[in-house]
């Protein structure tokens, strides 16, 4: 196994040529800029992909007119959103109304900061990375709650209250599934979790814990779909019932911030799924000599984006296949089914880890 450095050459170069405080500042600014570019590019690509994939699931073509294959459509859309007036209804709570759109995108931005894109492409790697993720992903909920309350509109309030109930409950089983991987790998740092899955495909946590890993992965997919506010669990938006839910009153930039956060969140959530269960940036190895060498030659961030893309496709597949749940069904699914099952699964995994029944 080749030992990879956790430091990126560019960062090392800056550290070598600048005094320490300045270098820290420059590296921090650089990583923020890179993440911002990533957020914008990912959001634009995902908007296009969502529309295309959705259209093909429904036997339509999707955007085809703006640019080749409609690739420039999201750019045209975002230009339109930028030029639109930011309407502020008379009865809103001004501070809450304008603060709310900023919070979800901040939350997903902070999650991306600990995301291990490659061996040396990670902005920060705190020891309690998983706890940090559970903490900052709550900011999205906060933004939705504040936005619904500040809009002073009954549909917005209903939507945000639904979102609150839904997200707080589904966060439990999502964190329990992550906890299972943390327990099995013995570390909370995302980079270490990825490195604990080195070896062949069988060493990924989805396969390594017999049964428990795959079950945890399925539970993670379900609960993170709810966490992302995506169909079939998009109760807080529910266009047909609530006229858009928490973002009913938002226009222009406010709306586009919520919209952006939704897509970046999807990327972050799929990335976390890939990191925790599918070996993150590690190339899949099948134990076949020449094939393994070819696969390992492809850089890690490409594998990361490929795995993340596959999970994003799963999310889109769910969204455009299943009808929306009712709110009481949604909550009873979580509290009566997913939570007990994920707790039992955690217990099972703990037993497996203690007995050492992890696949070699």
């Amino acid at each position: 196994m080749i030992a990879y450095s956790a430091n990126h050459p560019v960062g090392d170069f800056i550290r070598a040529n600048l005094p320490a405080p300045l270098a820290a500042l420059a590296n921090g600014a650089l990583s923020v800029v890179v993440l911002m570019v990533l957020v914008v590019v990912v959001a634009i690509l995902l908007v296009w992909l969502e529309r295309k994939v959705c259209a093909r699931f429904q036997a339509r073509l999707g955007p085809t007119r703006v640019g080749p294959f409609g690739l420039l459509q999201p750019i045209a859309d975002s230009l339109k959103l930028l030029l639109k007036e930011n309407i502020k209804p008379r009865a809103v709570d001004t501070l809450a109304y304008f603060l709310a759109p900023l919070l979800p995108i901040t939350g997903s931005f902070l999650v991306l900061a600990v995301m291990p894109f490659d061996h040396n492409l990670q902005v920060a790697d705190p020891q309690a990375g998983m706890v940090y993720i559970a903490a900052v992903s709550g900011m999205g909920i906060l933004g939705i709650l504040i936005g619904g309350w500040g809009s002073n509109n009954k549909y917005s309030l209903l939507g945000s209250m639904r979102a609150g109930a839904q997200l707080f409950s589904y966060e439990l089983s999502m964190v329990l599934c992550m906890l299972l991987v943390v327990m099995a790998s013995g570390t909370g740092s995302l980079r270490e979790i990825v490195l604990s899955q080195q070896g062949t495909v069988r060493d990924w946590w989805i396969f390594k814990l017999p049964g428990a890993g795959a079950l945890a992965f399925v539970l993670y997919l379900i609960s993170s779909t709810a966490e992302l506010n995506r169909g079939p669990l998009d109760l807080s938006e529910a266009e047909s019932e609530l006229a858009g839910g928490f973002h009913t009153e938002y226009s222009g930039m406010g709306f586009s911030m919520f919209f952006l956060a939704e897509f970046v969140n999807m990327f972050a959530s799929a990335g976390l799924g890939a990191t925790f269960f599918l070996g993150g940036f590690l190339a899949p190895q099948f134990g076949i000599g020449p094939l393994d060498h070819i696969l390992a030659f492809i850089p890690g961030f490409i594998w990361f984006f490929a795995k993340t893309g596959a999970l994003i496709f799963m999310y889109m597949w769910f969204r455009w296949t299943f009808p929306r749940l009712r709110i009481d069904h949604l909550l009873s699914l979580e509290w009566k089914f997913l939570l007990p099952v994920s707790m039992a699964n955690l217990l099972l995994a703990a037993t497996l880890v203690t007995l050492g029944w992890i696949l070699p």
């Binding site: 093909r56 429904q58 339509r60």
Partner: protein
């Protein structure tokens, strides 16, 4: 009980996912037609409703008997049937006047016709500059 229901539900969800993935993987099932580009090859569904037309056979004859059932069935007064008399002084169709400008393509006249003398055509791009350009006489000659 619960377990078998869970199994059954999961199976039916997987079935649904199979249906959608088959739509995704088979481009031939896309129903969208890119209209201005494919004007020559445009395909219409069988029941597409354009304007009302009166089919004529190879001898140029139609089957309309001027019974005016379609005129009575029309909620908009779109159809006017002017009758005339043939040499045997029998009442026959003179002119079948169809005003496309007031037609809502509701298909009621077609359903009312007992002789299948009229049907819905597949016409499109029917816009005109004057309203009276949208008044058509559907029969090519008088009835017998």
């Amino acid at each position: 009980m619960t377990l078998s229901r869970l199994f059954h539900d999961t199976l039916s969800m997987l079935k649904g996912m199979k249906v959608t993935i088959l739509y995704l993987t088979r481009p031939s099932r896309v129903v969208t037609q890119q209209y201005p580009e494919n004007r020559e090859t445009l395909k219409f569904p069988e029941r597409f409703r354009g304007q009302v037309v009166m089919p004529h056979d190879e001898k140029g004859e139609h089957t309309c008997t001027a019974c005016t059932l379609c005129e009575k069935a029309c909620p908009n007064g779109t159809i006017s049937i002017l009758t005339t008399k043939n040499i045997a002084s029998k009442r026959v169709l003179g002119e079948f006047i169809y005003r496309f400008s007031t037609c809502t393509l509701c298909n009621l006249c077609i359903e009312a016709c007992p002789f299948d003398a009229i049907r819905m055509g597949h016409g499109f791009e029917m816009a005109a500059y004057k309203r009276d350009e949208l008044d058509y006489v559907l029969n090519k000659k008088e009835g017998r």
